[in-house]
Structures are given as structure tokens and as C-alpha cells.
């Protein structure tokens, strides 16, 4: 038996191709939306992977350092380092801000996550695990390692607050959970940048302190200077990243820190659930809504097209039924056409999404699983969309082929 659907498609191939391409662009948008969500999740996981930490020690009862602000003293890491099961512990600060690149053509702003890392060597928690160009930070001040997504090159000079930093190394896929490229600078510089005020504000603060009789006591020399010094320095970090010894479990190490240091400790799974479940939950819901709407629109388009194509063939369907064609043959013809339309649409959609993904400013991750699910969803949508047309075709009275 010949394929009636195949012959009809070959006969009206232009209509099918153009319709399939239109549908494919819609499917491409749907796949890209799914890719945006996957990219956000992946950005979060990459952030955790690249931190090189097993545990995140943060201010008590906060979801820091990525989802909430967290501030802990910068000397806590020493006592944590001595606790059982701790292999390494390092301070870290995170600050998302506009970083200016200075060039002859003028300053250019880039939104970046500035990470303050302790002095050490590659492999220390918080440090970029590998570079694609240049070297790691070796000096205590004014050097930076930047992700290439920020557009920086080796030797570029960045301006963070009032200080200038020379880019000495470049990384790839070192991004924050919101996809902003990371810029690594020495911890002391980062601590200063977090709380550094402009000169006018510092002067005003000093005057206020001097005018405060509690701090400016004639009988206590040196008190005022000490207070002012404490106001203009920052001895806090956002978190301590901990790497544990292999023979210890995460909970074995985390529990004593929680108990004795009065701090909150998250392991990898907890931190991932904070990033995915809380930080990008709203975005995920937003994207989920878009996916539902796009799926409904796709279904409506396929249903309308298949319905129209079937309406165009009502007389032929009546003739086919009159000359003895089985209902299932006619239903199969319509169903196959809907599925072919879906397959054309999916192929076009997949290709367009693959080529469009790198053009998006944020990371778009198209996974084979999502593609397979998308393909399955397209087929289901096509089957459901063809039901109306099939019902209509099966209702066609073969007597319509005979006049009168």
C-alpha cells in the first residue's frame, strides 16, 4: 500500500516545508528557553565546582554567600583550619559590580562578580582552577585574573573603585550564578573595595566621630585614632571555603563548625539547592510559563495547519471513503502528516537553537536529554493536534461524493 500521507506531502512539499520552518522557529525558541534555564542551573553548578570547596562557612542563619549577604570575621578561617577533617580553609569575598576597562578609546563598563581570593597557589579554595592564558595572581595587590566572557585581554587595566588592576590571567566558564563573568583580585583589595568610601564620605565620617564625645575623650588619648582606624578598615569576608580530608564525611566536618563556631555551614548539595531552588527559582518558573505558552501556541499552530490541510481534502476524503478506504487509513494519513510536520519543525528548531545559542549574552545549554524530551513533546503535541482534524475526517459522509 502506498503512503497517502507521503504522496500528499510530496505533492504540496512547499506548503509543508514553509509551515515546518515556521513551526521550527517556534520550537527553536522553546528549545532555547529550555537552554537558558539549563544554562542558569549550569552556571550555578560551575560556580560551585570552580570554588573548589566542599563546605561553605557563612554568617549564622544566612543563605550566603551567593544568595544572601554574609559577613564573618576574616580570622575565623584560622580556627576552622585546625578543626578535625579540614584539609584547607580560605577566606573569600564576592561582590557583583560594574568593572571598568580602561583603554585609549575610553572606559567600558562590564558587569562582573569580583572575587577576593587569599594569597596562595592554584588549587587553594576560591582560586580559579585553570587558566586559558597568562598566569595566576602572584602579588598581594593590583593584579587580576578575569574570565574571557568579560571581554578582557592580558595586559588590560581594570578599574575597581579607585584602584587599577592589570589583567595577568584569563579563565573560561568562570561565572556567577547569574552568568556574570568573574574577576579575581587579591583578598585585601577586595575587602577594601567592598567597603571603600569616597574621600568626602571618609572626611564626613571622621568629623562625626570627632564630634562624638563618647569617642573623643580628652582623658583617653589614642581612642579617637583607634575608632577612626577601625571605621576605615574592613576585617570581614563573605565566607570561608573549606576543603575536607578524604577520610571525613562532609557532615562530620560541618557539625563541629556549626556547634563551636556559631556559624552556618552548607555542603555541596545544600548549596546547590540554594542556588537552584531559591536563587533561580523565580526565573525557572518564569521560563516554565514561557515553555507552557510556547507549547500551547505550537499545538494551536499544528492543529490549525492540519485542520486546514484536511479541510482542503474533504471531497477527496469523501471519495476515498466511498471507494472503500478504511477510517484508520485516513486517520493514519492525517496523523502521519502531523508527525512529519512536527519532525520538520523539530529539525529546523534544533538547528536554529544550536546556531542561535552562542549569540545569547547568557550561557544557553542545549542538552541531549532536553532535545529528546523536546522531540517527544513535539510528537505528542502533533498527535493531540491532529485529533480535531481526524475527528472531522472520520465524520465525512462518503455520500458527499455523490451529488444530490
Amino acid at each position: 500500500m502506498i503512503s497517502l500521507a507521503g504522496r500528499d506531502i510530496l505533492h504540496a512539499w512547499g506548503k509543508f516545508i514553509f509551515t515546518g520552518v515556521g513551526l521550527g522557529l517556534l520550537i527553536g525558541v522553546t528549545l532555547t528557553m529550555a537552554g537558558v534555564y539549563r544554562g542558569m542551573v549550569d552556571d550555578g553548578k560551575v560556580l560551585l565546582d570552580n570554588s573548589g570547596a566542599d563546605l561553605w562557612v557563612v554568617q549564622k542563619d544566612t543563605l550566603g554567600p551567593y544568595a544572601e549577604s554574609s559577613s564573618i570575621p576574616d580570622d575565623v578561617w584560622r580556627s576552622i583550619r585546625t578543626m578535625p577533617g579540614v584539609a584547607e580553609a580560605a577566606n573569600v569575598t564576592y561582590l557583583t559590580m560594574q568593572v571598568a576597562r580602561q583603554s585609549n578609546a575610553g572606559d567600558q563598563d562590564v558587569r562582573a562578580m569580583v572575587v577576593g581570593i587569599t594569597a596562595g597557589e592554584a588549587g587553594t579554595p576560591g582560586w580559579p582552577p585553570q587558566l586559558v592564558a597568562g598566569r595566576q595572581i602572584t602579588r598581594g595587590h593590583y593584579e587580576a585574573v578575569a574570565d574571557i566572557a568579560a571581554g578582557f585581554q592580558l595586559g588590560d587595566v581594570l578599574k575597581i573603585r579607585r584602584n587599577h588592576y592589570t589583567v595577568v590571567g584569563l579563565t573560561r566558564r568562570m561565572v556567577s550564578s547569574s552568568g556574570d563573568p568573574m574577576v579575581f583580585i587579591p583578598l585585601k583589595d577586595a575587602q577594601e573595595a567592598q567597603f571603600l568610601k569616597d574621600n568626602d564620605a571618609i572626611l564626613m565620617q571622621r568629623r562625626r566621630t570627632e564630634a562624638n564625645p563618647a569617642f573623643n575623650r580628652p582623658g583617653v588619648p589614642g581612642l579617637l585614632d583607634a575608632v577612626i582606624a577601625s571605621q576605615t578598615s574592613n576585617s570581614s569576608v563573605n565566607a570561608v571555603l573549606v576543603r575536607i580530608q578524604p577520610e571525613f564525611s562532609q557532615e562530620e566536618v560541618a557539625e563541629p563548625i556549626r556547634r563551636w563556631k556559631r556559624l552556618t555551614v552548607y555542603d555541596r548539595a545544600q548549596m546547590e539547592s540554594i542556588l537552584v531552588g531559591k536563587l533561580i527559582a523565580t526565573s525557572a518558573k518564569q521560563i516554565g510559563m514561557f515553555l507552557v505558552i510556547l507549547a500551547l501556541v505550537s499545538a494551536a499552530i499544528v492543529a490549525f495547519i492540519i485542520y486546514t490541510l484536511t479541510m482542503d481534502k474533504i471531497r477527496e476524503i469523501a471519495v476515498l471513503k466511498l471507494i472503500g478506504t478504511r477510517n484508520r487509513t485516513i486517520a493514519g494519513m492525517i496523523l502521519q502528516q502531523a508527525l512529519v510536520l512536527g519532525v520538520i519543525g523539530f529539525v529546523v528548531g534544533k538547528i536554529s537553537a544550536t546556531f542561535a545559542a552562542p549569540l545569547f549574552p547568557k550561557y544557553v545549554l542545549l542538552t541531549p536529554v532536553d532535545s529528546a524530551l523536546g522531540f517527544f513533546a513535539v510528537l505528542v503535541i502533533c498527535v493531540l493536534s491532529s485529533i480535531v482534524a481526524i475527528r472531522m475526517a472520520l465524520k465525512v459522509d462518503p455520500a458527499e461524493a455523490i451529488g444530490g
Binding site: 471519495v319 455523490i402 444530490g404
Partner: protein, 239 residues
């Protein structure tokens, strides 16, 4: 009254009622008809006389209310259908030729004709060979690979006749087959129907209003208000 020879198509006391009670309409009343194998008869009557209803009953598209129909040696209706699969009955035992050819636009000429035997389960190649034989007999074999939209009206109608004949049915029901054609082409179609009827021993019933072809029938059934009257036709030459 027509005589049942045991072949062709034989109808006795066929009636069809639409609706129930006060709104009931008797579209066919005690219709009797017999068309022998190889014979072409005309069925003529004014609009609303019951022609189409009779054709639909004969074509197993609607259910007669009462009566008896014998197709070849098989009683297909006797106050109820005697065959379970009416779709297969239409496919294998009844050929249809319509006012417009109604060819399937996405199948070429050969496959338009070969579709019926394919639907009946014949392998594609065998079905195409059978279709080509008929297309050759109808002198359209040179358009075998053409699409219906590339054919003239006369060629399309010949292909439609080939489709009606391809499963060698004992009866062909032709509904106004010459209506869209000029005199020459109309006569050509009637000649072909007569030739094919004789060649394949097929009974042909032609429903028509066409004054050009009515004189060619040797027997005519007039139908008015659902009642048929048989009379002898002129049986003129087709030329």
C-alpha cells in the same frame, strides 16, 4: 418488471424513508430494476425525484428501508444488509464514476487507478499493472505518470472510469458522468462505458440529465417521486 437473470444487479421493492412519523418522507417507493452484465441503462428524472437516493442505496452508502438487492450472485440486501463490511462491498463490488472525476490530486494517474486494488490488498506492482492495462484500454496510458491537474477534462473522466472498473466490479454507478463535457467528449465517455461494460461484463447504471446521451440508451428507467418506470430507449449510435 425487470427479470432477474442471476447476474448484474437486481432490485426488488426497494424503498427508502427519511424521518419518522409526521415528518417522514418516502424518497423511494417499491423500486424494481434489473441491469444485466454488459448492459448500460439510463436513470433519468427531475431534481428531487429520488435519483441520488437510489444511487446512494445501490452504492451501499445509505441504508434502504426495505426491499431486496442482488449483486451478481450475492444477495446484499434483503430488508437489511446481508454483508457485514459495506466498505469492502463498495471497494470490491461497486464501481463509482462521478460528475466530476474527483481524482486524488496528490496521486499520479496510475496510482489513482491502482489505489483500489491496493486497498483490497493487492501488491503495489500488481495493482499498477492492472491499472496500466485499463489505462491502455481507455487510451490514456501515455498520461500514466501525469498528475490529475495536468490532464484535460476528458482524460480525467477516462481515468475516473478506469478507477471505477479496476476491481472488475459487477456494477458501475455513474452519476452524471458527462455533465461537464461537450457533446463530442460526452459521446466518447458513453462509448467507453458501453465498450467497458461489454468487455468486463459489467452492469452500468448512468444517472443523467444530459439530453445528448439519453438517446444512446437501449433501456431507460424514469424515476419520479421515488417511483421507477422502465421504457425502451432509442439505442442510437454514439457517433
Amino acid at each position: 418488471m425487470a427479470e432477474n437473470t442471476g447476474k448484474g444487479i437486481h432490485i426488488e421493492g426497494l424503498s427508502k424513508r427519511y424521518g419518522e412519523g409526521d415528518t417522514a418522507v418516502l424518497a423511494l417507493k417499491d423500486v424494481n430494476m434489473h441491469v444485466a452484465p454488459g448492459e448500460v441503462v439510463g436513470l433519468i428524472g427531475p431534481s428531487g425525484s429520488g435519483k441520488s437516493t437510489l444511487l446512494k442505496c445501490l452504492g451501499a452508502v445509505i441504508d434502504p428501508t426495505a426491499g431486496r438487492m442482488v449483486l451478481g450472485d450475492e444477495t446484499i440486501f434483503d430488508n437489511g444488509w446481508k454483508v457485514r463490511d459495506l466498505r469492502a462491498l463498495r471497494r470490491d463490488k461497486i464501481g463509482f464514476v462521478f460528475q466530476a472525476p474527483y481524482l486524488i490530486p496528490f496521486l499520479d494517474v496510475t496510482d489513482n487507478v491502482a489505489l483500489l486494488p491496493m486497498l483490497a490488498g493487492l501488491p503495489n506492482e500488481e495493482a499498477r499493472v492492472r491499472a496500466l492495462e485499463l489505462l491502455t484500454a481507455l487510451d490514456v496510458q501515455h498520461r500514466a505518470k501525469a498528475m490529475p491537474s495536468q490532464l484535460s477534462g476528458g482524460e480525467q473522466q477516462r481515468v475516473a472510469i478506469a478507477r471505477g472498473l479496476v476491481n472488475r466490479p459487477p456494477v458501475i454507478l455513474a452519476d452524471e458522468p458527462t455533465a461537464p463535457l461537450d457533446s463530442v467528449r460526452a459521446m466518447a465517455v458513453i462509448r467507453i462505458l458501453n465498450d467497458m461494460a461489454k468487455r468486463f461484463e459489467t452492469a452500468v447504471i448512468v444517472v443523467t440529465h444530459d439530453e445528448k446521451i439519453i438517446p444512446t440508451f437501449k433501456r431507460i428507467y424514469h424515476i419520479r417521486d421515488g417511483i421507477t418506470h422502465e421504457e425502451a430507449g432509442e439505442g442510437r449510435s454514439f457517433d
